[in-house]
């Protein structure tokens, strides 16, 4: 098994993922008619935060400190499994997509526990909202991956995206289109993007994800920001693999195309955020139920085929 190429891929993911947020912000700024932040803004912020000393509230315990670390490690592990441009990574194995979902769940669990550990009612509210939406988005995601596994007949993510070629798009276009739509909605919700949540808002009543991490500071906040960027990469690369079924055989050109696709996905997120208004909090589950319906439809289509 090759070592060099997966290592390079992994390194590229680790390094490039904060750039996605930069792209999104630039697209949004373009739509708003502003110049916007520099593309590398998140790198600067991470650099700044790592130099700071964290501050801990006296009521918190080790759970609070463990949250960000577990979160970011879970995401790093997940990305070590996720295929890159349809090629297997280090840790690919049969059935890895189930493991991936559990890793995402673990990251969420750690974040929520850390938020609850502060003892603040405010963060508790955020945690409750986060879990409420997870109840809807996780089944949608899981069903979607199940449908994909069924459509491709493979049980590892690398296998699925390896089989996913233009031919499959010709014969099973409805299923794949539904799945792409479903994954995109899940991406928006899981990464607290606009119709579900607004990453820029600090208005207490409407915050979901941001409110949980308010008490974190210094390197731990940096871990959280970095974890969020990795998560965005994770979902973005799923969609990029879905819509980019071409495999030329050449590693360099495939990877280049894939990276381009990633930035297109990021731009698409930026456009979505610019043209849509944030949904009312009670309407967010409807959006996720729609994603669930898409995944379920795709699965029914695939099973009954």
């Amino acid at each position: 098994m090759e070592i060099i190429k997966p290592a390079v891929q992994f390194l590229a993911v680790m390094l490039l993922s904060p750039l996605l947020l930069g792209v999104i912000n630039r697209v949004k700024a373009f739509f708003a008619g502003r110049r916007g932040q520099p593309l590398m803004q998140l790198y600067f912020e991470l650099f700044k935060l790592f130099q700071k000393t964290p501050v801990y509230s006296r009521t918190t315990t080790w759970v609070f400190r463990a949250g960000p670390v577990i979160g970011v490690s879970a995401m790093v592990t997940a990305l070590a499994i996720l295929p890159f441009a349809g090629r297997p990574s280090f840790l690919a194995f049969d059935g890895d997509f189930i493991f991936l979902i559990y890793l995402l769940g673990l990251a969420r669990f750690a974040t929520v526990l850390a938020a609850l550990d502060t003892g603040s009612a405010f963060e508790g509210m955020g945690a409750s909202r986060e879990m409420q939406f997870a109840v809807f988005s996780e089944p949608a995601f899981f069903l979607g991956l199940a449908a994909l596994a069924r459509a491709t007949g493979q049980s590892s993510l690398a296998g699925m995206f390896g089989v996913l070629t233009g031919d499959l798009w010709r014969t099973a276009a409805p299923v794949l289109a539904l799945l792409t739509a479903s994954f995109f909605i899940v991406l928006l919700a899981e990464n607290s993007r606009v119709p579900a949540d607004d990453p820029n808002t600090h208005l207490e009543l409407t915050m979901i994800h941001e409110v949980m991490v308010l008490d974190h500071s210094g390197p731990e906040l940096a871990y959280i920001l970095y974890g969020a960027a990795l998560k965005l990469w994770f979902f973005g690369s799923l969609i990029a693999c879905m819509v980019l079924p071409r495999h030329s055989g050449s590693w360099a050109s495939d990877s280049g195309l894939f990276l381009l696709a990633m930035f297109v996905v990021a731009a698409a997120v930026g456009v979505t955020e610019s043209v849509l208004a944030r949904l009312r909090l009670t309407k967010v589950p409807y959006m996720l139920i729609t994603a669930f319906a898409f995944s379920a439809l795709a699965l029914i289509f695939q099973v009954g085929r």
Binding site: P174, T290, F301
Partner: protein
Amino acid sequence: MHTFAELIIVFIILLDLALAVTGGLSSCIKLVALQGVVAGLLPLLAGSGAPHPRAVVFALVIITLKGVVFPSLLARARDRSGARKDVEPLISYPASIMLCLGAFIASSWMGSRLPLPETNIAWIVPASLATIFTGFLLITTRSKAITQVLGYLVIENGIYIFGLALFVEQPMMVELAILLDVFVAVFVMGIAIFHISREFDHIDTAELSELNDWRRGEYGK
């Protein structure tokens, strides 16, 4: 080519789901019109080779009726009734969409059980059954008279798609008679909606409950 037809079928199902969650009366009217147009296009797009001229004429009639005439009739009825802009469902939207999904699962099961002749478009039978179910859902769980008419039209769309699936060639005369009936039905219902709004100051059918067997004799007191 069949993948294209399949995409249309998926689109029709998605329209069903959209109808189950759409709250705006105007968007509901538009969605039903869109579904009618897509259903009308289906025989032209799904067939192999150039469509028969008769089929083209017929598709044009259907598209004009379902895409232009019905929506404008219903929009007029809505404007003149001064109804509120949302459909006021009796059950929540998530429940609606879950029912719709359940209906789709049930119809794909039924579609596989029905001893129907082979169709060349996958999913057309479940899609038509699901559309019919959605129509019933609209009729039973939405309180406005106008949404009940919409439900009726959705049922009609579903039956039309079902007819396509079975290749039942009806003579032109019969098909035109059916269309004429549907047209007059919508027309008469539109007039009735207008009268309902004038008589009751609303078009909420949940309030149309004076006639029954048990509370008889209470009215007018």
